[in-house]
């Protein structure tokens, strides 16, 4: 399973897939990192998110990554120890987001917001598919 960057007129769109929802989110993080054009990082940030369904979870997760980049002056590289706890009408993510600090001269894409536009977070044909358009 993996990810790909898809065609979109004004912004950037990705598709991430995984055997499990966790794997799909790990792949989505890599897609996010590729769009940002970040390199491998080492700085660890612990995050926690709770949302009412898988679409909202993807939206809130992407929102958190963007918030991290804007407020900590870092670029997201990948995620480790990503864990999803599922209850009725509640999904919780706990994860370590690994980032690299932004230094002058780095050429990064500023992702500004997640969107619900064309969003997908579903289990189909034996795999999880996450799709999202990012406002850049």
């Amino acid at each position: 399973m993996g990810y790909e960057i898809l065609e979109h007129t004004a912004d950037e769109k990705f598709r991430a897939t995984g055997q499990s929802l966790e794997e799909a989110f790990k792949e989505a993080t890599k897609a996010f990192s590729e769009i940002t054009k970040a390199d491998k990082g080492k700085v660890k940030h612990n995050i926690k998110i709770q949302s009412e369904n898988t679409e909202a979870l993807l939206f809130d997760y992407l929102d958190k990554l963007i918030f991290l980049q804007d407020t900590e002056g870092v670029a997201v590289s990948h995620t480790e120890n990503l864990n999803i706890e599922e209850k009725q009408h509640s999904y919780k993510i706990k994860a370590d987001i690994i980032t690299e600090p932004i230094t002058p001269g780095m050429k990064l894409t500023d992702i500004k917001a997640p969107t619900y536009n064309e969003m997908k977070a579903t289990y189909e044909d034996g795999k999880w598919i996450l799709e999202a358009v990012l406002d850049i």
Binding site: H8, D63, I66, F67, D110, A113, I136
Partner: protein
Amino acid sequence: MELEKVSENIYEIPQTGEMNKPGRIYANEKLLEEIRKDDTLRQVKNMATLPGLEKHSIVMPDGHQGYGFPIGGVAAVNKEKGVISPGGIGYDINCGVRVLKTDLTYEEIRGKEQQLANILYNKVPCGLGKGGYIDVDEDDLDEILEKGMEWMLENNHATEEDLKHCEENGRLQCDPNKVPNEAKKRGIKQVGSLGSGNHFLEVQRVENMFNEEKAKAYGLEEEQILVMIHSGSRGLGHQTCTEYLRKFEKNYPEIVESLPEKELIYAPLGDELAQDYKHAMFAAANFAWANRQGITQAVRESLDTLFGDTETELVYDVCHNIAKEEKHEVDGEEKELLVHRKGATRAMPSGRPEVPEAYKDAGQPVLIPGSMGTSSYILSGGQNSLELSFGSTAHGAGRLKSRTQSKKDYRASDVQRELKRDQIFVKAASGETIEEEAPGSYKDIDEVIKVSDELGIGEKVVQMKPIVNVKG
């Protein structure tokens, strides 16, 4: 989709199904053909389902597909039955344009274009994680959200003349406490920063004059050097939109259920949550004006450094992503409306209270940026804009190709060489940005302006040619 041609440049989507009013497209055949290629028309139809909508849902000649609502969309709703929709305003609240006029002429800066590009690029923070030109603390930020340009004046980052030449004098009355904390955390390091994507800073020269009288009223002369700034409320505005979208979604599950797309979510104007969002949105708009003012200060410093003491005055500053409370005549009756403009520029003619005193005879200046390497325009608000578009016109060229497609079609070095041949100097964070923003990625700005002018919603005053373009 079947459209009815109402008259030259005006097409209508008849009212059917869930639509509360018909939809309208202001375009000529060439632009309409481009508009038909994506989802714009369906989105105009969706926009017409907004409760309390007056007259029509409208899309401008530069319209293209957006999230939920089209870019270039105008939707005016009445105060009694109407709603407010974050998606009808856009993520970048008060994304807008300002134009500065200088006492420099093209002759005076020739030969120094590259230096000018370099100094502007270094002085104006661009792109992700580069900070802002103005240092502010948390208390300052709260005051900026409340007072916008007035805070900039009080702290010596603006002149009184700057305020007089800014939409709303750079301040909308609001309760800044409605701005989410997370949004404030993103905005604190971004006062006076350009951002990235299609935002830019451009040095231009006045090339063509279409209306000398109005050009004179705006203080413009042939060969004069102008500086155009296109930026918005940065992370603060985006986070404000994101958080309220989620609040609306959680608070109105039955509305979400009834919508063809979640991004169309709205709240009835009478509800507390709608009012909270309105206050937060106005505060973010104040932040955006302060941001563009911060960039202005960086431009002033750059010009003074390179050319000695330079007079740099604000011609005008106007937003193209916002909802404003305005009075308009509908069916012979004056009504209080909330006018959503998403990628549409307010274009008020003379006689309207919104027009600044200095321009009361000429009408409001309407600032329309072209794409990198093509002309930009200053129009004046047209008399027909009140009847046709609630005092609005287009906001730019409008994207034609996806960024991915542009990267396939263009090479940064070729684009840069071709532009340099035309004496246009581009400085960007990366080659990819230049490819993504290559002139061919956008619609023909001249066609967009032609439609606006012919309809009399925004009338041509001057055309500017780019000299130096700085991108995030």
